[in-house]
Symmetry: C2
DNA sequence: TTGAAAGCGCTAACAG
DNA sequence: CTGTTAGCGCTTTCAA
């Protein structure tokens, strides 16, 4: 019947061993508010007597108290979670940015939630709605298509959720972007090659993989012009996707024997480590020795760059740092009521010289 | 002064545009409870008249209502989030498991939170405490050390949080594990090599990188014995870490000229794609042609396997599927009040034959 | 078929 | 220094 002696009738929410502030308060003999005060770590001395503070802290520890983040979030109206949306969550670049973001997030008591964007035509609207449902304090966006970006803008704007785009080239004037200094990196690599005596330099990228690739190609052309180095059209291999089956033939066609030796590039810059790897192996299959006959520079510095044959000289992108910066910005917004400015942070990039580059023949 | 006309004095929690159920209720002219009923999608027909239901749904859409997950979580005592703890969040394997887990999680209205475990000596206790603070519905654990595992056990046991260990060899009798069928994969690879005429087969792994490596080495030895193939001690290269600087010398020492040809292995199985890549390049540097003179099989099937030179024949681990299974199990626990059994799911592994293996000379 | 009401565990005013 | 009092937005009985 109702009205039993039993104290615990709750709605089923009492998970095993879940101690509440009231439990502690009861035991210590103070009010729950005081416990809250102490446990949230406000300035000591103020409000609570030191001895009381100690007893509360002690009891909390004894009882194995774990604060309830959901309750805290609801009560304070803040969520302490950052959303991370990307289509390429399974790739090293994404994972490393996430780790970076995670680092600064957790230092500040925040956490990162990965948002679903799978399949070829993910339900963006639903995914972004979840961001609002979770009342995330900010969102990290990576490698989104323009239509998805627009949807995201609408959702976040309505709820004043700050966004940080990472490693995304299209210039957005309404949101923050954290990008790597691709131009700087390319310049470093180019200077490295030039110092090695290279003049005939080619570029290989996959245009449809990401807008980044196209941008890097443009940057390359730009830089070559700046250094007064001519670039025959056929030296620029703009394939579609980063797949061996499609990059290989392109490289093969350019490097295949049957043309005068001095019409060949002696070095390649690429838009990615993986492309550099295919380039190296295609060249080798054609009888080139890398780096003696052909120098190749990658872009990214993935783990596999160290294991490539030969170890890949590459432009290192600071993935972790990009994630860190983005998270830091979001946290600033959350705390300073900072309006999501259209700013942009560019993280320096550097050249890691390994064994895939050598003096020109 | 106080007592102004102003209606909105709230605690600052009223984020822009945040419509509540009460707002909808007021507009439609029903109670907030009814709105809750409709919006949580209970069986239609029951409780609410269809016309009312429509009006509520419509109004919610018009107002751009987004349910408040924190409130829902607190009220219902469930959190709808799965924690993901790992020391290797930046690696492809981890990222891919996370994607898989994400997939099934989001299909069920759950989401995944990455938990912090950075640096060389992460604060496990703090990290795991956060799991409880978030009242996660379950935790996915990957690549933890034994002491961390023990800490995790204590934390999750107290709060009855189910755990699923992924890709982790130490047999745990108190928790669920989802692992890949390494033995099956190794067997497939071995049969492939044997069919190609190989007898002298070596193994390369890095013991201290992960307990997985050691296990694979044991499995390899086991299988070789089963097939009646002798394995000279020096054929098993158990280096410390997966680093070129340390794997390379080992392979070099074994393969270096100066010993009778028939004492060399003609093929290698490895505990990882990266190790396979170093093996191939070291061999090549010594004048071996891969695969003509030496066959090499990787383990994992990372993206870079396709880009290796030559494209790597490898034992593919179903990372995404491991994540999916683990998440599925956790959700089952959450719903069925299923006690975290000591079960184990093993996901089949398969062999991807590319170009790094060929008939024995 | 609907509404009223009681919390969930916590934060934050405010009053002593 | 400390307790009281309101909520936060939702779920969930229980009554009507």
């Amino acid at each position: 019947m109702r009205g039993t002696i039993n104290e615990k009738i709750g709605s089923g929410g009492e998970r095993a061993g879940m101690v509440t502030m009231s439990d502690i308060a009861r035991r210590v003999g103070v009010s729950q508010a005081t416990v809250s005060y102490v446990l949230s770590g406000r300035q000591s001395g103020v409000r609570v007597r030191d001895e009381m503070r100690q007893r509360i802290l002690q009891t909390a520890a004894d009882l194995g108290y774990r604060r309830n983040d959901m309750a805290r979030a609801m009560s304070s109206g803040k969520s302490y979670v950052l959303g991370f949306v990307t289509r390429i969550a399974g790739q090293e670049s994404s994972a490393r940015m996430m780790v970076g973001a995670q680092e600064v997030a957790s230092e500040n008591g925040y956490s990162i939630q990965l948002m679903p964007l799978h399949g070829k035509s993910p339900d963006y609207a639903a995914a972004f709605a979840r961001l609002a449902e979770q009342r995330v304090a900010g969102v990290l966006a990576l490698n989104l298509k323009v239509d998805a970006i627009e949807l995201l803008r609408q959702e976040t704007e309505r709820f004043e959720i700050p966004i940080a785009f990472m490693d995304d080239p299209p210039p957005l004037d309404w949101a923050m972007r954290v990008i790597s200094d691709d131009r700087g990196g390319l310049r470093l690599a180019l200077e490295h090659l030039i110092a090695l005596g290279h003049h005939r330099i080619g570029f290989v990228s996959a245009q449809r993989e990401s807008p980044l690739a196209e941008q890097r190609r443009a940057l390359f052309l730009d830089l070559m012009a700046e250094y007064g180095l001519p670039v025959p059209n056929e030296f620029v291999l703009a394939t579609d996707w980063v797949k061996p089956e499609i990059v290989e033939p392109a490289v093969h066609a350019l490097l295949a024997p049957g043309r005068p030796r001095e019409t060949y590039p002696t070095a390649f810059l690429t838009a990615g480590d993986l492309m550099a790897m295919v380039t190296m192996r295609t060249a080798r299959a054609l009888g080139y020795r890398v780096p003696q006959d052909l120098s190749v520079v990658g872009f990214a510095d993935f783990i596999s760059a160290t294991f490539a044959d030969p170890p890949l000289t590459t432009i290192a992108q600071p993935f972790e740092e990009i994630g860190r910066c983005a998270a830091r910005y979001l946290l600033d917004c959350a705390h300073a009521t900072n309006p999501g400015s259209g700013a942009e942070i560019v993280i320096p990039t550097y050249l890691v010289v390994r064994a895939s580059t050598a003096p020109a023949v």
